[in-house]
Point group: C2
Chain length 330, copies 2
Amino acid sequence: MTDTSLDVVGVGNAIVDVLTQADDAQLEQLGLAKGAMTLIDTDRAQELYGLMGAGIEVSGGSAANTLAGIASLGGKGAYIGKVRDDQLGDVFNHDIRAAGVDYRSRAVTSGPPTARCLIFVTPDAQRTMQTFLGVSVDLGPDDIDPEAIGQASITYLEGYLFDKEEAKAAFVKAAEIAHAAGRKVALSLSDPFCVDRHRAAFLHLVEGHIDILFANEAEITSLYEVEDFDAAVARVRGHCEIAALTRGADGSVIVTADEFIEIAAEPVEKVLDTTGAGDLFAAGVLYGITQGYELAVCGKIGSIASAEIISHYGARPESPLAPLIAAKLK
Amino acid sequence: MTDTSLDVVGVGNAIVDVLTQADDAQLEQLGLAKGAMTLIDTDRAQELYGLMGAGIEVSGGSAANTLAGIASLGGKGAYIGKVRDDQLGDVFNHDIRAAGVDYRSRAVTSGPPTARCLIFVTPDAQRTMQTFLGVSVDLGPDDIDPEAIGQASITYLEGYLFDKEEAKAAFVKAAEIAHAAGRKVALSLSDPFCVDRHRAAFLHLVEGHIDILFANEAEITSLYEVEDFDAAVARVRGHCEIAALTRGADGSVIVTADEFIEIAAEPVEKVLDTTGAGDLFAAGVLYGITQGYELAVCGKIGSIASAEIISHYGARPESPLAPLIAAKLK
């Protein structure tokens, strides 16, 4: 296959975010673990929504944010993810298309509602996420569009989705189609608890199917059950062609078999909301790779995209990233 | 009746806003009249939503914004307005309660969906509104809660709602209950086109039922079909006890039978989005009146509340207004 009309196709949880401001005392009162992503059921979602402050609804979902970022950078992307035929499904569908992403999944007409994530943003810009997954996790092998996968230079899989057996099978199917077409497969580990729950399956996936791995420090050390970052770096080198590892305000590193590239965090005047920081870092790196940039430049693009996101509320770019990158890379 | 446990009860269109950024060229391409509020039907709403950029959903509705503002100022308010039992109805219901407003209307289980307003914010901070009214305009006399009206010092009616015969009857019913209980009735004219369509009915309402009138220059001159502001002021003096008239960046005036009080616009560092400026001015003035402040102070509170709203996106306060007012009135 030589039709690489897409740079990246993402597979992930299609979610609408509900952002609200809260302080540490409120988090404690609600029994929330600060900074974490916790899965909640319908009842808890209703209870928490009833107790939380006024919200702002914006489309989210980790891989969807990454694809919106890639489009904003000038890349061509598609997205596979599941919504219901309800109002929040319409919102998700509208926003991802408006962001310039080719969204081919049709809204399903039965089952749970569209997923939503209640995000409590504290004055220190940290986000505490309570996710009601709804229909988003009912994604299986049949939802994987072989045409989109075959057309994309990189297939990007969101670790948050790697929970149900059907979704795991969908990931393997997507990876196999991509590799058969001579494409690359990328994965974001997404969450240390998710890694912890499915460590063996994640290790199998990473070792057998993944070319480009995204993780933060907590996730990569959880994956290999090692004490420190250096030990994790030594382990991942043997398995993935490229590992892009984020370390919050300390920047990030990109590791290959023979390279160890450190990337400084881009300075930000005022960090308002760190939601989407990792998603946009991935967007920059993936976009850079598809454009054939050196990895150090890919990392720099990731840092710049990430800095834009954390300087406002919400996890999708507010202003086009392409001119921002062009100006900063000069 | 002496139970004034509420300061203000508002009656209006319960709407969720969908905010998006656009430039003048896009407005022209979409055929939108800049700065205006235009009513649209389901088909046009779907068409426009498909063509517009990614959005942010926030609860809106003119009188609902005013009541959220009154609560943020420390006042006790209730709201009467109609939503469906759908996801946007849930959002509206959640946000107005979270804002501290007593929302007693139950979501209806049939009929059109919850209303939404597509708001295009241009770089000059002007908003162009395209409103799909949905179920919000199906409000009639039966929806007027006599208990809430009787408990409130002021009943505040939103002119946008004054379109269908049932809603007009609901306004008259609310005004009669309020006056029978010795309360005041306030009205916002909301929109010059709305005034133009229903001038005779509005004049009848203003002359027969309204104690406190809110209007901008375009609305008040349209109501009396006069050329200039001074002529409108002369006319309104004979009809309403208090008229609070806004003039955009030129500030506002409060007029009574023997007073003419000019209020300067509060300086704003950067005006981002003027959506809700009038709603929050009304919030400040109404709150001030219920607290027994002099009218000049009421106007000042309105200006400060209005300045907070136009310094960010969305028409509900982002930070509590009470401490802001306390600091500024010192």
